[in-house]
Amino acid sequence: MTPETLLYALTFPILGVFLGLVYKGVDRRVSARLTSRIGPPIRQPFWDVGKLLLKETVVPKNAVAWIFNAMPIVSFAASMTLLLYIPFGVLKAPLEGYGDLVVILYLLTLQSLAMAIGGFASGSPFSSVGAQREMVLMMSYEMPLATVIVGFAVLYKSFSLTTIASTPVWGVAGPLAAMGVLLLFVALLVVTPAELAKLPFDIAEAETEICEGMLAEYSGRNLALFYLSDAVRGFAMAALEVVLFFPFTLTSILNLNLTGTPYYVVEALWFLFKVMVIYLLAITLVRTSFARFRIEQASRIFWVYVNIIALVGLALVWLGV
């Protein structure tokens, strides 16, 4: 492990948390504007986290305390690790040599799993129902998500994200495979809100049905950790989509001749802009324009429709390679 990797490993999580919270703030603001409200200031998520950290952490009487307290940390650690596997624009991922897309898949799952286990351990009926729903939902959306990743593996003969990011997918794929990649993108866009537990797939946290479900019993520091990991996960998921489908650099598009610091700054800002666009399209816009599905409806959507889209995409990619 080089000192450079260590530096990345320290700065990326801090940057990730900051960006995650900023994006969450923008998301709330834009969503409010879409529904004719003013919305909170963009710094509101920071205040929320600060407030939660100051508040008392309550552990329910009939909870399995150690699991209950451990799960927010697991979830937070998973989201922090996730950041280290995603190339940030032109920067390489700090842990690129130690893992790839499959690890990302597992890290994404780990967070949902941590929330579900925490929900079960809390001993509250709302959390138990929420955790059950989360498990069902996970089983539903993992298949299309895995199909997308397999599709990329077929295309690149590699699971490495840096390889994928360095050569844009649209250049590698032929016309048939490009159509397949487009279908994979659609499938991943539908999976995104479910992965992040946002409307219309926030079934496991449904406020009006089961009072935030798995998070019902969480408070104080534990809730703050879940809140942070949720924010980071949102950013990471959008960043992942950008890396997979839109890795074009601004210099390559505009034929700019930049080097040194300006190059990195411009590319970083361009990357953040792309992530923001995907974030707003896949999360904010969707969650403002849909009602919550019932769990069996959501399962049917993923198992039937999204799966068909993803599998057809995979088949096209396979035929086109």
Partner: protein, 412 residues
């Protein structure tokens, strides 16, 4: 392996409920296998307070029974009182009353549409509908001076006139809502997600609706053509000839589910617009109050004796007020209020049984429940005039419920 069962308590404090009531659902996975509805968390004693005041004070107290139906209760109150006291309101006052009652129906129905959208997680629709609802609240404020408790009715008339300029504003509002209801039909009735969440949910058959004694839009959605405005017309409704809105007239069949009730409510908004337009076009001239002098009115009440039932079709269903005047008092001797939610809440038990946890908020919201309409002091006497104590009353209620359950084939 035995399936794990959980008790999911909904209420008295829960995001799906804005007022205190408790639904205890026993769930197996997502399926509800047993349900118990407990009420009686709000204690207000409004009827008792009313019996200690004079009739005019009680009239304004009756507005406070419900925050949304704040004209429905006074409407039933004035109709009942006028019948008991033998006063007749001037025609112009009757038309103004009808206009205000229908304006309230518009705002209540739009509010409900927003609430049910919120219950299924569709908050954008909630904000959109409530933004649209502001217009009718503004008009109500213009006509009465208040947004919520209008204080405009009086025994034997109304306290404020509708002037020409106000009538013009109301006509503008009608045009606005004609477009808005068309938009709502698109957004609610044609939306696949809304359809997926409401079709077949909270489905109440015609027979079950009759057995459970439901009223208002819930009964009409089940296909029962019942509406106080149609069955026992009063005030301007007698001139209009209101016909109850039922789904079979609109889409051919009544399924009685949450989708049908949305249908009924949206089309009732249109009906209300028609009624308001008719009233504005045919508004008779004349005075506003039969007895303008309050002192004279109270003196007349003190001299009068009589009892009567006043009924009004509130947005949620029929509101019934029973009155007895006499004994040289200037207020009602007996005042008994029956609000529509009291009948409609009975549907929760049978409908929730076998439903999913995700359907709880929709089943709870579809009747537009109002707890504070329900809970008032009740004194029950048996046929010999003796007070029935709470324990006996409870036993009787249990017997009745058991009998009802057997008839409906619920549990046991």
């Amino acid at each position: 392996m035995a399936k794990t069962q959980y008790y999911v308590p909904v209420g008295p404090i829960h995001p799906a409920l804005k007022e205190p009531i408790r639904v205890e659902a026993k769930v197996e996975g997502e399926r509800i296998v047993d349900v118990d509805v407990k009420r009686g968390f709000a204690h207000r004693g409004i009827e008792y307070m009313g019996m200690k005041r004079n009739a005019i004070q009680t009239l304004y107290l009756s507005e406070r029974i419900c925050g949304i139906c704040s004209i429905s209760h006074p409407y039933a109150f004035v109709i009942g009182s006028e019948k008991a006291l033998g006063i007749e309101a001037p025609p112009r006052a009757q038309y103004i009353r009808t206009i205000i009652a229908e304006l309230e129906r518009i705002h209540s129905h739009i509010l409900w549409l927003g609430v049910v959208a919120h219950e299924m997680g569709f908050d954008s629709l909630l904000f959109w509908t409530w933004k649209g609802r502001e217009k009718v609240l503004d008009i109500l404020e213009l006509l009465t001076g208040n947004r919520i408790n209008y204080s405009v009715f009086m025994i034997g008339g109304v306290r404020r006139d509708i002037t020409e300029s106000q009538a013009k504003a109301v006509r503008d509002m009608i045009n606005y809502y004609r477009i808005f209801t068309e938009e709502m039909k698109d957004v609610f009735l044609a939306d696949p997600v809304y359809k997926a969440r409401t079709r077949g949910v909270a489905q109440l058959s015609r027979d079950m609706a009759k057995k459970l004694n439901v009223c208002g839009p819930v009964a009409r959605a089940a296909g029962l053509r019942m509406d106080v405005r149609q069955d026992t017309p009063y005030d301007a409704y007698a001139d209009i000839g209101v016909r109850a809105v039922v789904p079979q007239d609109i889409v051919g069949e009544a399924r009685g589910d949450a989708y049908d009730i949305t249908l009924v409510r949206i089309y009732e908004i249109e009906q209300s617009l028609d009624i308001i337009e008719f009233c504005l076009d045919n508004m008779p001239e004349g005075k506003l109050m039969a007895i303008p002098n309050y002192v004279a009115l109270l003196a007349k009440i003190r001299r009068s004796e009589g009892e009567a039932i006043g009924m009004h079709e509130a947005p949620r269903g029929e509101v019934v007020h029973y009155f007895k005047y006499g004994n040289k008092r200037d207020g009602p001797l007996v005042w008994k209020v029956v609000a529509p939610s009291y009948n409609n809440i009975n549907t929760w038990g049978p409908l929730l049984l076998g439903a999913e946890v995700a359907d709880i908020p929709i089943v709870v919201a579809y009747i537009d429940p109002c707890m504070c309409c329900n809970d008032r002091l009740a004194v029950v006497r048996d046929e010999n005039g003796r007070l029935i104590d709470p324990a006996t009353l409870h036993l009787k209620a249990v017997e009745k419920t058991r009998k009802l359950r057997e008839e409906l084939g619920v549990r046991e």
